[in-house]
Subunit: 164 residues, 2 copies
Amino acid sequence: MTGATPTTSPAGAAHGDAATGAPSGDPTGDLAVELRIALLRTARRLRSQKSVDDLSDAQFSVLAHLHVHGPRTPGELADAEHVRPPSMTRTVAALEGAGWVRRTDHPDDGRQVLVLLTAAGRSAVEETRARRSAWLHERLARLDDDERATLAAAARLLRAVVQE
Amino acid sequence: MTGATPTTSPAGAAHGDAATGAPSGDPTGDLAVELRIALLRTARRLRSQKSVDDLSDAQFSVLAHLHVHGPRTPGELADAEHVRPPSMTRTVAALEGAGWVRRTDHPDDGRQVLVLLTAAGRSAVEETRARRSAWLHERLARLDDDERATLAAAARLLRAVVQE
DNA sequence: TGATGGTAATTAGCCCGGCTAAGGAGTAGC
DNA sequence: GCTACTCCTTAGCCGGGCTAATTACCATCA
């Protein structure tokens, strides 16, 4: 099919590309463009796999955050997910409606609320995490060890890069 | 699945930092989980940068596709973006309304439509691409050459992994 | 040639989840 | 105890997924 090779983006034929603002002598310029495309494309594919279960991407992300970090306030969750508080309120409400989280009063501050995973929520995270990784897992299995090592290193780098 | 996910820190009160950083055991199983998390997280950050301009992620993706591949029918675009035709109809309509693409009759088949970039659309792609990469670019600049090489290799691998 | 079935695009209408603006409820400082 | 601030929530907009149904066109075959 559209077997365009990744190396650069010469955009083939009639489409004078190469603009992208990347000075050609500057490797990170190209890299940013290439990496962004690859990441967004892969993420889109990963996200499209989610349709098999009933947990949306935003919802799962919150659940996973609670799973790792423990109870959090909506404000903290909004901050962590880089969304506005009203959006988080809505997501939390959906999760609560589904029985995956519970809202409790904050012990010290009456304005705040603590959101915590229910037992159902905890196992939902664990099951979903495995299932969602299946597609990627299956594809990674086709790579050789070096390639997998590269991706593992990249995953670590991305974590650092994205770190606030 | 692989039984125990090694990343589960007991959410209780502990705040596992080392959680999810662990390379060990079943390499591809862990890798899939780790990579998925890193990719989705990074993609979310990248996407959140878009808010500065008036081009949504889905819209930009279509524009970029047309920029690289030339005129396409809505059906082909839907296929390429892994969305259903009605979704693409809507996206194309928005792009047309903004003047970035034009719809023309298909030369051979009256059922089909050809979507093509306008001049404005073409420069929108080029400008936006550079701007959107700026955030990532700035962060990549803090890495060393080896790390950048790793990410470049990973970008290539991801393209291949996601192919088809 | 005219009915029949398939295919492309669209419309209608649902839902999720971003956002802003505005409104309680609770806290804190004076 | 008033005032200001903080946190959460509600109300309501919008983009963009989806399915189901509709319309327009093509292709085939009796």
